[in-house]
């Protein structure tokens, strides 16, 4: 399986584990000494662990797990994903899990866009990923999953004679926004409070990390795609906003070695009337790059250039294979088609 020259480049520990590894579901090669030292040096303290029996008493947690088909994940881990670091309870919280889950979510979302839209402009790409992974988006998803909140302070819970264990199964956090009286809202930004959106987002991120821990990287990828990426629909065409389309198209054509773009009027109606219509096509030599319609010649020409640029930027290959989708032996790289955004 491994040839001689390859082995020379790999460390001892990686080689021993690579021989046994079949897919990304396994924990992977053991970390070297430096990694272990670094990790242990920066470990944070955590709270009390949640026992499986205690977590299983919460019906809200059981139904949430069933709704998301998470039966293989222990209730103790799931209960932990719902406790934020502002909950004020003694239990271990989800902040570390959320930190890792955020990076998992970011990677797979970026990969999804890069594979399906290799030429998407950088700012549009970042905004699209933001639409999918920002706290506001994740909070919307959490609400659709029926996550209940527990926003009472520890003192309020004590007064209500409610045990610490009752927070399990509900998203426990202290809301930074408080409606004090009609027309007056108090917002407290401190380490002990959290906005509702952010709290929901930490739950989703922590859940993704929990799914990774128990199902492996492939399991986490499938979960993210099925529950967070596929259901969401964003019209990329409507969010691209180009400021100097004709100029940008000219620069694009010169960069790609195409003939300079020329706009030609293809059809018109009602030129001197109240509602004229002009249809302009922008051509590079004999091929039409884009077409636009407008109520003035200038507008039509601008729209034609915009449409041509959108056709370029929103290019999507047919049935692309994501790098993380196929195992190493079956993965075939796509030709890399993106030279970068146009710089005017």
């Amino acid at each position: 399986m491994f040839t001689g020259p390859r082995l020379a480049f790999l460390s001892r520990q990686s080689v021993s584990k690579l021989g046994m590894r079949r897919s990304l579901s396994a924990t992977g090669p053991a970390a070297s000494g430096a990694a272990a030292e670094y990790a242990q040096k920066h470990t944070k303290s955590k709270g009390d662990p949640i026992s499986e029996d205690l977590a299983a008493t919460s019906s809200a947690l059981q139904t949430l797990a069933a709704r998301l088909h998470l039966k293989d994940i222990p209730y103790s881990t799931l209960a932990r994903t719902l406790i934020t670091d502002t909950s004020g309870s003694r239990f271990a919280n989800n902040s570390g899990l959320a930190g890792f889950g955020k990076s998992l979510l970011a990677f797979y979302t970026y990969e999804h866009f890069m594979i399906n839209y290799p030429r998407l402009p950088q700012r549009v790409l970042r905004h699209a990923v933001d639409v999918y992974t920002a706290p506001r988006a994740l909070a919307e998803v959490a609400k659709l999953w029926g996550v209940q909140s527990e926003t009472r302070t520890p003192f309020a819970r004590y007064l209500a004679n409610v045990k610490d264990e009752s927070v399990l199964g509900r998203l426990a956090y202290i809301d930074a926004v408080e409606a004090v009286e009609p027309g007056v809202t108090k917002i407290t930004d401190s380490k002990t409070t959290m906005h509702a959106d952010v709290a929901m987002a930490t739950f989703i991120r922590a859940l993704v990390a929990a799914v990774y821990a128990h199902r492996g990287l492939d399991g986490a990828r499938d979960f993210i795609h099925q529950y967070l990426i596929k259901p969401r629909k964003l019209d990329l065409q409507s969010i691209i906003s180009i400021s100097r389309p004709t100029r940008e198209l000219a620069v694009l054509c010169s960069r790609e070695g195409l003939e300079a773009p020329v706009s030609r009027l293809m059809a018109e109606s009602g030129r001197y009337s109240n509602t004229p219509v002009f249809v302009v096509g922008v051509f590079s030599g004999q091929s039409k790059l884009g077409e636009g319609q407008g109520s003035s010649l200038k507008e039509a020409r601008t729209r034609a250039a915009v449409n041509a640029l959108q056709a370029w930027y929103l290019y999507s290959p047919i049935d692309p294979t994501a790098p993380s989708a196929a195992p190493a032996a079956e993965y075939k790289p796509q030709p890399y088609v993106d030279g970068g955004e146009i710089v005017i």
Binding site: R6, L18, E37, Y38, K46, G99, F100, A106
Partner: protein
């Protein structure tokens, strides 16, 4: 830009003409290049030779020698096609973005690095503790994890691997810096390129074997760079 102006300039001896390109047809613009740092008229197209060199004087697209350090880092099992290597090492500032640059590769590579460093840290931190979530302990200082894939660390990796001369970029002004960003972007872009060329499984192997172990380990570098401000 007319023939007359060029003749005047030559006569006046105000500028030295390195290359002239005079077109007689009406549809092509006349181009004049002035080579001593002074542009005479706005809207001139610069001679390519002026901006196709990186700060170390290597001309685009480089040669086998330019890619040798990167090829050594990658090894034979993570080899990349030349075009992709060149793109990974070209920054947006080079040639005003006319040549394929590494912005997108860097974004993807950075995300993978961030994920992998978090994963490796979580696995390492679980060793020696009783409570772990199936072999992972995610309760590690976030700043320490971020540092592992941050600009200072990655730019140091780039320096150690001696990739500086291979990178095509253009500093804003001589001696003004920008090396940290450029070098770290290039390193992330290399990871991104490996990811797209060889798939995620191999890219993760690459990160674990070349960037988390051995002479360019991000853990060792981050250890030196970490300053506790908590």
């Amino acid at each position: 830009m007319t023939l007359q102006f060029v003749r005047q300039a030559v006569r006046a001896g105000r500028a030295t003409l390195a290359r002239q390109q005079l077109a007689m047809t009406g549809s092509r613009r006349t181009l004049v290049v002035v080579r001593n740092g002074q542009t005479v008229v706005r809207g001139l197209k610069k001679d390519e030779a002026l901006y196709m060199k990186n700060p170390h004087g290597i001309e685009y697209p480089g040669n086998a020698e330019t890619f040798a350090p990167l090829q050594e880092l990658l090894g034979s099992e993570y080899a990349l096609p030349e075009e992709l290597m060149l793109q990974a090492l070209t920054h947006k500032s080079f040639a005003h973005g006319k040549k394929p640059y590494n912005e997108r590769l860097a974004i993807l590579g950075k995300q993978l690095l961030r994920m992998e460093t978090g994963r490796a840290t979580a696995q390492s931190a679980a060793q020696g503790t009783q409570e772990s979530i199936n072999g992972h302990n995610f309760d590690v200082n976030e700043r320490a994890i971020e540092l592992l894939s941050s600009s200072p660390t990655l730019s140091q990796v780039c320096r150690l691997a001696k990739l500086e001369k291979s990178i095509f970029w253009r500093p804003a002004d001589a001696g003004k810096g920008g090396e940290t960003t450029i070098y770290s972007t290039s390193m992330s872009a290399v990871v991104g390129a490996v990811l797209l060329q060889h798939g995620a499984e191999r890219a993760i192997e690459f990160i674990r074997s070349r960037l988390m172990a051995g002479p360019y380990s991000v853990f060792d570098i981050s250890n030196q760079l970490f300053v506790d401000t908590a």
